[in-house]
């Protein structure tokens, strides 16, 4: 544990004002940095002799819209059945497009990278939070770690996060000509369009989805005694 505190201490001095917070949780260290310092921090973490994070293991986007919101309030006893009780309430992205949660979160998107130092056998998670009311843009890390190339394309494709300076920011996982960013929380799980074969036109066409969105198990957040007892 003391080693962890040492690492946090040295990271705090190294990153200075660029780091908004550096915390340790269950043995993993997470540093949250300013979006404007993203590229600078990455370079420092790679090149500093005390860090040497030579490898970027992973990069991914996160959409914090609807974080901590449940789909079923059950503080009081309910007379409705379990899954039926969810009808009508709107969890983000789970129901119709018209029922979606409005994006109002200040810091909606995050870009998270997982770094690995082969020299010191250490891992580090670095995160930056991007404002949701404007186009999420952050600097590319492709010149720091070459592995960032496809991971950034994936984050762009799935979340619409733009990476400034990326030489080839194309969609990667979705179909050619796909509209929207499917992993955003306000993108419905069943999608917006489906593909069918049109007998008359003799070709495959897109049409709005015809299936009904449904929930088998509602999302619940519980703070009752079963879960609180373990904390002591």
């Amino acid at each position: 544990m003391t080693e962890q505190t040492d690492i946090i201490q040295s990271l705090t001095t190294l990153l200075g004002e660029d780091a908004l917070s550096i915390e340790s949780h269950q043995g993993e260290i997470t540093a949250t940095v300013e979006p404007s310092a993203w590229h600078r921090v990455a370079k420092t973490l790679r090149d500093d002799s005390g860090c040497q994070y030579e490898q970027m293991v992973d990069l991914c986007g996160v959409d914090y819209l609807g974080y901590g919101q449940d789909e079923w309030e059950d503080d009081e006893a309910t007379f409705e059945g379990y899954s039926r009780a969810v009808e009508g309430s709107s969890g983000p992205g789970r129901f119709d497009w018209s029922e979606r949660v409005e994006a109002g979160t200040e810091e909606r998107f995050a870009v998270v990278i997982h770094l690995l130092s082969v020299t010191y056998n250490r891992r580090l998670r670095v995160r930056t939070l991007l404002k949701g009311d404007q186009l999420p843009v952050v600097a590319t890390l492709i010149d720091v770690w070459a592995a960032a190339d496809w991971y950034e394309r994936e984050a762009f494709d799935l979340y619409g996060i733009l990476f400034n300076g990326h030489p080839d920011l194309r969609r990667i996982l979705t179909d050619y000509g796909f509209v929207g960013h499917p992993f955003r929380k306000d993108f419905p799980l069943i999608g917006n369009v489906e593909v069918i074969y049109d007998e008359e036109k003799q070709r495959v066409v897109y049409q709005p989805v015809t299936i009904e969105p449904r929930v088998l198990v509602p999302k619940v957040v519980r703070n009752d005694s079963r879960y609180l007892a373990d904390e002591e």
Binding site: E28, V62, H114, P182
Partner: protein, 417 residues
Amino acid sequence: MAEIRNYTMNFGPQHPAAHGVLRLVLEMDGEVVRHADPHIGLLHRGTEKLAESKPYNQSIAYMDRLDYVSMMCNEHAYVRSIEQLLGVEAPIRAQYIRTMFDEITRILNHLMWLGTHALDLGAMTLFLYAFREREQLMDCYEAVSGARLHATYYRPGGVYRDLPDTMPQFRESKWTKGKGLKQANEWRSGSLLDFIEAFAQDFPTRVAEYETLLTDNRIWKQRTVGIGEVSPERALQLGFTGPMLRGSGLAWDLRKKQPYAAYADLDFDIPVGTNGDCYDRYLVRMEELTQSNRIIQQCVTWLRSNPGPVTVDNHKVVPPSRQSMKEGMENLIHHFKLFTEGYIVPEGEAYAAVEAPKGEFGAYIVSDGSNKPFRLHLRAPGFAHLSAMNEMVKGHMLADVVAVIGTQDIVFGEIDR
């Protein structure tokens, strides 16, 4: 003189050497590749988004379908990530079972790789040999979980059930009868552990068979030596892990460096290459077959002499036994809650990685304190490897593209997720 221009060629997605649904757009200068642009996503199923709409345990089955030739290793990463968030640790016997099945999975994966890689480069026999042994190991999967491929065997807090005492046997049929039937059932008279032990004793001679066919084979060396060379520095930059990194000469293996499950107590070696070409990566993987076999033998010995529970005794995470559920009210409630809404995972985030046969397979979970993951990201080794395709094939001949696809051990289930 006529003007000579580069020629753009389309490779796949329907091509036997594309190992699934890889589409490559190749810019050719004669028979030399100038630029390769892989188009992926043809098998994208949105596993991570689907997991966001389900209780934690229901997504374990999706993990099998990611890298569908190393099923249990994927489950292991996901389950370990949940355990980390819950603060639960599986009992020691479950850890050994997981270790043993991780290594069985590694052999399954490497045999698949060996068979297809060799087939792509013109060696037909090996494919048949490799599948012969794979069949035996998939029977182990079946004996323990009921499914040959998609096991869903690992659970947060342990494994689904203890190892069975009997092994299913072949019945007489038109094809297996008399002496053949007796031979086929020779290993299967005892428990699963007896079967695995018999397999592990026999396996080194099988590996020797594969090696006779390839290691000193002139054609094999011509096709692999000096192809797709990657320096260790570049391999780190490109996010390579597993045999792709070790083939370049870096002795980095999570089983040794950041031990999980029971690896810290076991004795095994990490093979490394020197040149970082396809041939070295072939040698590394071949040695890993032998080392995995060693680990399996040690696990069998340990598991024989150490009976015990295979799941934690915490019914907030693991359902109570069927028997006790019918007898106790509290157990019934636990059972009902677990199978209707699942368990609540405390708020926080965790990244857990395992040394999957292809490299580092990691699961990053963000939990907002509900019964479903808020965000699940799966770090697939193949994704990073394939992104280096252009760099590895540039300047090589068209036929070498197939060698590089083979050496990267590409499976689209994990790349497209």
